[in-house]
Each structure stands twice: as C-alpha cells, then as structure tokens.
C-alpha cells in the first residue's frame, strides 16, 4: 500500500516539477545519453564517476539543494586529471582527451548556474557526439547520435524560452523545426563541401582495434576480440574466386627481436628494387573499397603485376610498391579508398636464383635470428635437418622437402588452433620455444612466427606476411566482403629456382580457417545465441538484411568521397569538374538559399490582409500626389477630403473613387470580404491613371 502511494507521489511530483528542476533533469538525461555509447571504451573509473556525478547533480536538483563549492570542484578536477594520467600516461592523446572531455562535461553540470554555463555543456556535448564516430559510424550510431543531438537542441531551445513552463514536447518540436529548416543547407554542404585528405598527421594507433597493424607482438594478446567490422569490399569482373584463394598482402614483417616482428625500414620508392611478379594464368580485375584501417599499407589482392618502385595514385594519395611487394602509403590511410586493380592468383615472385653476391646479400635479413634466444627450437631444427631423408638432397630439392616436413609436423603434433591461447613470455624470454615445443596453442600469427623461426634455423630465407585472408561466403549486393576478423598472418619462404613462395602454416593445423574463410566463431551473444537456437534461418536472413542495409549506408553516406562529388558535378553538366567548379556551385547554391530566405522574410512581412495591402498601395500613390498628411489610420473619406483641399476640382475623379471605396468598405452592414489581387489591381490601375492625369494638370497650371 505504502509502496504504491509513494510511487504515485513520486510520479505526481515528477509531473509537477518546478521549471528549473525539470530542465536540469532533462539536461542531465541528455548528457547521460550522449556519454552512454562511450561507456564501452572509457576507463571503468571514468564511466562510474560520470554516472555518480550525474546522479548526484540530479539529486541536488530534485531536492533543490545547493551546488558544491568551487574548492571541491577544483579538487575533483585535479583528481580526475591524475586518474586520466594514470590510465593513459598522457593528457593529450585521443583516448585521454575523450576521457577528460567526458569528465569535464560531468563536472560542468555541478556548477551549472546560469544560462551561459548551459552553452558550455551544449558545445562539449556536440564534441562528444563527434568523438563517437571515431569508434563507429554504423547506422545505429548515426541514429543514436541523432537522438542525442535532438535532445541537446531541445535543451538549447528550452534555455531560450524564459517565460512560463513550456513543455518538453513543445521544445522538442521547435528544435526539430529549426533543424529541419536547416536540412537543405546540410544536404548541400554534405554533398558539395570539398572532401580533402587529412590536414596533418593522424596518430597511427588504431584505437584498441583488432585487425592489422604494422607490428606483431608475439603472444602479447591473450585473446583477440573478433571484430566483425568490414575491412573491405570487392567486386570482381566475372565470378569471384574461392575464398580460400584470397590473400590480401599487408605489412611484411621480417625483423624479429625475440618478442616483436617489425617491417624492414623502407627508404622510399627509389630504393625499392627487384623483379616484377610474373603472373600466370587468368588475370582478375576487381574494384576495391577499403575502409580506413589507419595503416600506411594498402592491402591488395595477391598478386598485382607492378614491379617494386611502381607508383599508384588513389584519390590524391601517392602509393608505391616496396621491395617486399607490399603497397606503401606515405601516411596512415584514414579515408575510404576506392580503386580498380588487377591480380593473378597464380604467380612467381622475387629473384629465382641468387646468381650474384648482391642478391644473396639481399636475402640475408630473412635469415637473421635474435642471438641466444629460443635454443631449444634451434636444436629441434638442427635435429630435423640431420634426419637421413634429407641427407642426399641437392639445394633445389632440400628446401621444399624441409618445408613439407615442418608442415607435416604441425599437422601431426598436438598443435591446436584457438583464438584464446593465453599470453606467451610471462616467465621465459624464449617465446618461440614455449610455443613450438611446450604449449602449442595459438592462432595464425603464432603459427606463422614459429614456422618462420624454424625455417630460418634451417637456413631457408623466410618472412611473415600479414594481411587478410578469405571473405564472407555470401555476396552482399554483389560485393565480396572481407572483415577485420579475417586479418591473417602467413609465411613466405624463398626457394632457389622458385622465388618467394607463400606457405600458410595455419592451414596445416586448421584447414577450415583457410578453406571457409571464417575464423573460429567465438561464443555468441545472448540474443543472437537464443535466436540462432530457435530459428537459425531467420537469424541468418535478419543478419543478412541488416548487413545489406549497412552496406548501402556505407556506400552512399560513409564512402561519399571526392570522386562521388565530381561524378555529381558531371551529372549536373560540368564537363571537366574540378575544385573551382565545386566552389562555384556551393557559392551559387548558398547565395540562392540566402536569397530564398530573404524573399520569404519579405513576403511574410508584407500585409497579409487584402484591405491592408490596398491601403498601403493607395497611401504610396497619395504621397506621390503631394499629400504628406495622408496616414494609414485615416479612412478613404478623409483622404478624399485632403485631396480636395490640396488639388481642388482637378482631383475629383480620385475623390469619387475613394468615396466609392469607403462605401464598399464600411457602408454595408455585413463585413465585406477583402478584395482579391485582380480586383485590387483593377482598382489601382484606374486610380493611378487618374493620379497621372492630375499630376500632368498641376504641372501645366504651375
């Protein structure tokens, strides 16, 4: 009983809150909605503190209590800065910046007194909305941020309605009206504002994402989160090749220091040398849309035919091909790229035979191993090499035999493919020993790294290639979709007479990973799990429909680029669209919009009533007839009297017309409807003609 009574009281209290309290609570809810999507990637203390502060502020507003003083706020600021430093080891980076932004916003609510302070919250809120796009630009994120922007705008409108107690619904409607009126400007700017590349270097760190990176820390990740985000989309001319054959060449990692693998330093396009890959068989043409991976390597399908040192320009970005046949960019690629390329799935790469010393020297880096590390693996390799079956082989036959033997070993020994192998190197510096001989758990990068170390121990040049392998089995709207989860690492070994050959040791332990192009599926989420249990087909088709929708969103909104802008201009009739044309069009359209706004204002300011319009026109005419005393509040009868007084009998036609108007307007009992534009025009034409006559007569007489 008491429970219901309290709830009822609470509810009625909520419905009859004082204006100030209600607005504050609304603003707090808005801030909470803006911060919410960040909860996943903020440090836990930050999320918790923000929630606490908002709750505290809400409670203060509810009770109408005083806000905390300046001293406690300063103290809190110092505390927050310290915590941020502890979490991020800096106050300036992107992550640290977002953490601070969220905390500042929460703290600002604690000193929200005047309307001026509210503005600060709004502007911080807009920043916070933008930072969400650094993590996700999906359709859902877009919708959610639209809601938070709408709420922020409504709060802004509320702050500008100082009288009475306007309802939230009303404010929201007004905010929506203002935003919708601005929609043409938004669409215009979005379509035509020149899309240019980043203005300055972007920190290369991909924020806590899986996928590719320029460095491989062996065993540092105990588990990789499966990021189902899309990395790229391809459309092939003709039928797409099987997923098993799709290898996208990303960073090539050759230097190993015992823990991490790094790329060889590249000295730019001029220093890149080597023979071009020789393609055999069919050449595939495809169109690729690459999501921003924030990586200075462009992963293209193996193997494109250009020689090392070749250049490729994509949307103003100058790429070149390195010695190890990867495509390098001068900076991390942060924009979506769209390009057309060709590739041959069957190819031969690199020098076939190290005829001269220089070529032999060039292979040297691929044989180096960190000194003194992994002795047991080296011993294992030496023992393998000593086996009798390899004794009599010549150089050309030895390498393939060794590779095959090691792959057989991987397949037959108790190696296991898992996405959660645990950390390596916790209590030993010999990481490869630990993997190759002791634990034998890992995913692609463990197998590739172990394989390459064993190859080098066997005096076979080897390197790790990272990139993507495989694709979704189902086409999306005709596109082959490659996901971040399909990031992969494999090995390349050099064999005399055959050049660099791709060897995928993961295929030896988990062939399904390579064949089906799908990673091991981690435990499904609660909802998808339940739905997948009940109706797998429904779940699949729901998921596919959603992804098609997302693809459209990606292609039309997110991938909208400079080339789309130029295409638009072409369709509008520019034969050779360039920046200048784009600028002209934007200026022209903005001027047009402004003129439209001004015209609307003028139209609205004009008298809306027919009588009033006629009255204004007559007044203009009378002032032209030297009757400055004629005023808007007088009746036609009075104007007639003034005319008579000034011009005498000569004005008689005008006087008659005015008196007739007076009669039409006032004499009848029932109110006369205002004259339409045609009637007004006729009346005025006659009146003006009479006025001209009068002017001519007065000129003659004077």
């Amino acid at each position: 009983m008491t429970g219901t009574a309290t709830t009822g009281g609470w509810r009625s209290r909520l419905a009859h809150l004082p204006r100030e309290t209600r607005d504050t609570l609304f603003l707090l809810a808005t801030i909470a909605a803006t911060v919410l999507p960040h909860a996943g990637h903020l440090p836990i203390w930050c999320t918790a503190l923000t929630g606490l502060m908002l709750l505290w502020r809400g409670q203060l507003a509810w009770r109408g209590a005083a806000l905390p003083g300046r001293w406690s706020l300063s103290l809190m600021l110092v505390l927050v800065a310290g915590l941020t430093w502890l979490s991020h080891r800096t106050l300036l980076g992107r992550e640290a910046g977002i953490t601070m932004l969220v905390m500042l916003m929460a703290m600002k609510t604690l000193e929200l007194r005047a309307r001026r302070d509210a503005f600060v919250v709004f502007f911080l809120g807009f920043f916070l909305v933008l930072t969400q796009y650094l993590y996700s630009q999906s359709l859902l994120t877009g919708l959610w941020t639209l809601v938070s922007v709408w709420a922020l705008m409504s709060a802004l409108v509320l702050a500008q309605m100082p009288v009475g107690q306007p309802s939230l619904k009303h404010a929201a409607r007004l905010a929506a009206r203002s935003t919708l009126t601005g929609l043409p400007v938004m669409v215009l700017l979005f379509a035509l504002f020149p899309r240019i590349g980043p203005l300055w270097g972007v920190p290369a760190d991909a924020v806590g994402r899986t996928g590719l990176s320029n460095e491989l820390q062996f065993g540092a990740m105990s588990e990789i989160a499966n990021d189902d985000g899309i990395a790229m989309r391809l459309r092939f001319e003709g039928p797409p090749p099987p997923a098993r054959a799709l290898y996208f060449r990303g960073p090539v990692l050759s230097r190993f220091d015992g823990r991490s693998w790094r790329a060889l330093p590249s000295a730019g396009p001029l220093a890149a040398r080597g023979p071009a890959p020789r393609l055999r068989g069919q050449v595939l043409r495809y169109e690729l849309t690459l999501e921003p991976l924030r990586l200075s390597v462009l992963p293209l399908l193996e193997m494109s035919p250009e020689a090392p040192g070749a250049r490729l320009e994509v949307q103003g970005l100058e790429l070149w091909r390195g010695s190890e046949l990867q495509w390098l960019a001068p900076r991390p690629i942060t924009e979506r790229l769209r390009l057309s390329q060709q590739a041959g799935l069957d190819y031969e790469a690199g020098p076939l035979a190290p005829a001269d010393r220089r070529s032999r020297l060039a292979l040297q880096p691929y044989l180096e191993l960190p000194a003194g590390l992994n002795p047991r693996t080296l011993a294992w390799a030496a023992e393998l090499r000593r086996r009798p079956e390899f004794a009599g082989l010549d150089e050309a036959a030895l390498a393939p035999a060794l590779v095959a033997a090691v792959l057989r070993h991987i397949a037959s020994a108790d190696f296991a493919y898992t996405l959660a192998p645990g950390r390596y190197g916790q209590d030993t510096p010999h990481l490869i020993d630990e993997f190759w001989l002791d634990r034998r758990l890992g995913f692609c990068e463990h197998f590739a790294a172990g394989f390459v170390v064993v190859m080098r121990a066997l005096d076979i040049p080897a390197r790790i290639v990272t990139g993507f392998q495989g694709a979704d089995r189902v086409l999306q709207d005709g596109y082959v979709v490659v996901r971040n989860a399909q990031a992969h690492a494999w090995a390349e070994v050099w064999q005399p007479g055959r050049g660099w050959l791709r060897v995928d040791p993961t295929a030896a332990v988990a062939p399904e990973r390579v064949d089906q192009g799908r990673t091991l599926v981690p435990a499904p989420g609660l909802l998808s799990g339940a739905l997948g249990q009940v109706s797998p087909a429904l779940w699949q088709s729901l998921r596919r429909g959603w992804e098609v929708l997302n693809n459209r969103w990606q292609q039309t909104v997110l991938n909208y680029s400079r080339s789309d802008q130029f295409d638009l201009l072409k369709r509008l009739g520019w034969s050779a669209p360039d920046w200048q044309a784009l600028g002209q069009l934007v200026a022209l359209l903005l001027a047009g919009l402004a003129a439209l706004g001004a015209a609307y204002a003028a139209w609205q300011a004009r008298a809306q009533d027919g009588w009033a319009r006629l009255r204004a026109a007559i007044l203009r005419e009378l002032h032209g007839l030297d009757l400055p005393a004629a005023a808007a509040h007088q009746a036609p009868r009075q104007w007639a009297a003034l005319l008579r007084l000034r011009h005498g009998a000569a004005a008689e036609p005008l006087v008659r017309q005015l008196l007739a108007l007076e009669l039409a307007r006032y004499a009848k009992q029932d109110p006369t409807p205002p004259p339409g534009w045609l009637a007004r025009w006729r009346w005025l034409r006659e009146f003006r003609a009479a006025g001209r006559m009068l002017r001519v007569q007065t000129k003659k007489s004077s």
Binding site: F123, F126, L156, G182, M186, L199, A605
Partner: protein, 321 residues
C-alpha cells in the same frame, strides 16, 4: 557638427519617434551572440576533426549543426518580424520615481517566444522583461524606468530583443515612443507647513472681511466639478433641489496662494520641491488654492485638475520665469 552629433542625428533620423512600432526588415538588427560565436568556433573544430579523421558522419553532424544555426538566424529574425508594439499613455510621476510603461505587443502571425523588452543603458547584468506572444493575439508587458529629471520629457528608447530559438543570434529593434510624460518636481520630504497668509491683496473680498470679524461663516454655492462629496448638502439634494455644497471658511484663510516668493533663499530646484510639497498639502486640506510663479499665476481652485495643472507648471518652471 562633430562626428558624435552627426552620428546622433543619423541615429535619431533612423529611429523616428512613433506611436506604435511595427517591426520589419528595415528596423530589426541581427548579429551573432557571444554563444553564437563560440558555436562557430565549435563548428570549425568539428569540421577539422571530421577532415582529419575522415569521418563522414562527422561531416554530416557538422553540417547539420551549421544548417540548424543558419535556420535559427531566420527564426530569430522572424520571431520579431511583424510584431506591432504600442504603449498606453503613461501616468505622470514625481522625479526620482519610476515610470510605469505598459506596452502591448500585437501579433498578427504565428506564436512568438522569449521576446524581451528593456530600456537600453541599464546595468550590464540587467535582464529584460520577457514575454511570449500567442499566435494572432497580444500580450502586455509592464516596464519600469527611472525618471530622474522634472519636465515634460520624451520616453526613453525601448529595446525589443530576442534570442529564440537557439540563442546563437540576437535580434533587436529600437523603438522611440512618441508619447511624452510629465515628470513633476519631487516634493520636499519634510516640507514646512503652509505659510500663514498675509491677507494683503485679498483684504477687500467679503470672505476676508468676515474672517476679520472672527466669525465662522458658512455659505452655500452650486456644486462645481472637483468639490469634495463631503461638502455636498445631501438633504437639500434629496428634497429635489440642485446639488449644493457647503463652503467652510477656516479662520486662517479662504483662498490660499502658494507663492514662489515664500520660498526665497533656497536654490531653484529646492524651491520648486517645496512648492510641490505645498501643493500636495493644500490639496489635502481641501481649500481652494492658487499658485503664483513670478509672473505666471494659476487662479485658486481645488481638485485633481488643479493639482495636475500646478504640478505641470512647476515641472516646466525655469529660473528666468
């Protein structure tokens, strides 16, 4: 003509005094407010972030906000456009008191929100008086402004302003009302009692003669506008006769003259203040009284009109008079 005067002249010609104020394109000014400038700065930073991180949705957000800001400029302007203001004739006040202005806002268009009115040049933190005006309706606003100096003065210019809907732009309009208002001299707070009248010039009048005899004469005369109702002889009126009033004669005087000469020795404004106080006292005592300001004379009478006339005379009085 100095630059300042020229500016003033141009300003006055730009805002002629009018009885009513219809706001339109020609008399509404609009500028970005301070938050509006910060909003622009925010937009620039958002745009830079979108460019640098190649965030398509960031562009969309930036341009959405820019579009809304642009639209809000029109909405702010439209919030004033078409409003018509007029003013109820203000009541006279004493100098130092506050003028009470009652302003009506007529709206022939859609609803207006957050329309503020104030007298420019007030304290910087002064909030205007806010009101909403319903669609095709009107609303009333009371405004007070100080009236420091006596005289027939023009009303101060009024500033009508709004920042609705987003507060990013401030639109305002200046109205100089044509109406004038009397500001009377402030009565001296503790003025000495009315001076005892020297009979002098009025010695021959019958009343004065009677007064000399020391008798309390009581006569009757027809009712005149402004007579106190207490003086009406209701019994006679009930008998069907005309309205007659009793004329009291106090021993002091029958017709009192308030004379500037009686206040000699004070400075000019103080003299007027004392006379104003006396006018109020004389009016309270309910005897006909007259005012003499050097050459100007107000014949003896009683009532609200007499009081107004006397106070207006005092308000307009110049030392040369």
């Amino acid at each position: 003509m100095s630059l300042r005067q020229r500016w003033q002249a141009w300003w006055d010609a730009r805002h002629p005094r009018r009885d009513s104020h219809l706001m339109g394109q020609h008399n509404i000014y609009i500028l970005p407010s301070r938050p509006g400038l910060f909003f622009c700065l925010t937009l620039v930073v958002l745009l830079l972030a979108s460019i640098n991180d190649q965030l398509s949705l960031g562009y969309a957000l930036t341009f959405l906000l820019a579009g809304a800001g642009f639209a809000s400029m029109h909405a702010t302007h439209a919030n004033l456009r078409g409003l018509n203001l007029d003013l109820k004739a203000p009541a006279p006040v004493f100098a130092g008191d506050e003028l009470q202005l009652e302003i009506r806002l007529h709206n022939s268009g859609g609803a207006r929100f957050g329309v503020g009115l104030r007298v420019p040049g007030g304290a910087p933190g002064d909030e205007p008086a806010w009101t909403d005006v319903p669609a095709r309706g009107h609303s009333l606003l009371q405004l007070r402004c100080p009236a420091p100096r006596r005289g027939l003065t023009g009303l101060p210019a009024l500033r009508i302003e709004t920042r609705f809907p987003l507060g990013l732009f401030g639109a305002w309009s200046i109205w100089r009302p044509a109406a004038q208002v009397w500001v009377y001299p402030r009565p001296e707070p503790a003025a000495p009692p009315l001076p005892v009248q020297a009979t002098g010039a009025d010695a021959d009048t019958p009343a004065a003669a009677l007064l000399l005899l020391g008798e309390d004469f009581e006569g009757v005369r027809p009712y005149r506008h402004g007579d106190s109702l207490k003086q009406v002889l209701w019994k006679k009126a009930a008998q069907g006769g005309e309205l007659l009033v009793r004329e009291h004669l106090s021993p002091a005087s029958r017709q009192r003259w308030l004379d500037l000469a009686d206040t000699a020795g004070l400075d000019w404004e103080a003299r007027l203040a004392r006379l104003a106080a006396w006018v109020l006292q004389a009016e309270q005592q309910g005897q006909p009284w007259g005012l003499r300001l050097g050459a100007r004379e107000l014949p003896p009478d009683l009532g609200a009109q007499q009081r107004e006339r006397a106070l207006q005379l005092l308000a307009a009085a110049e030392p040369s008079a």
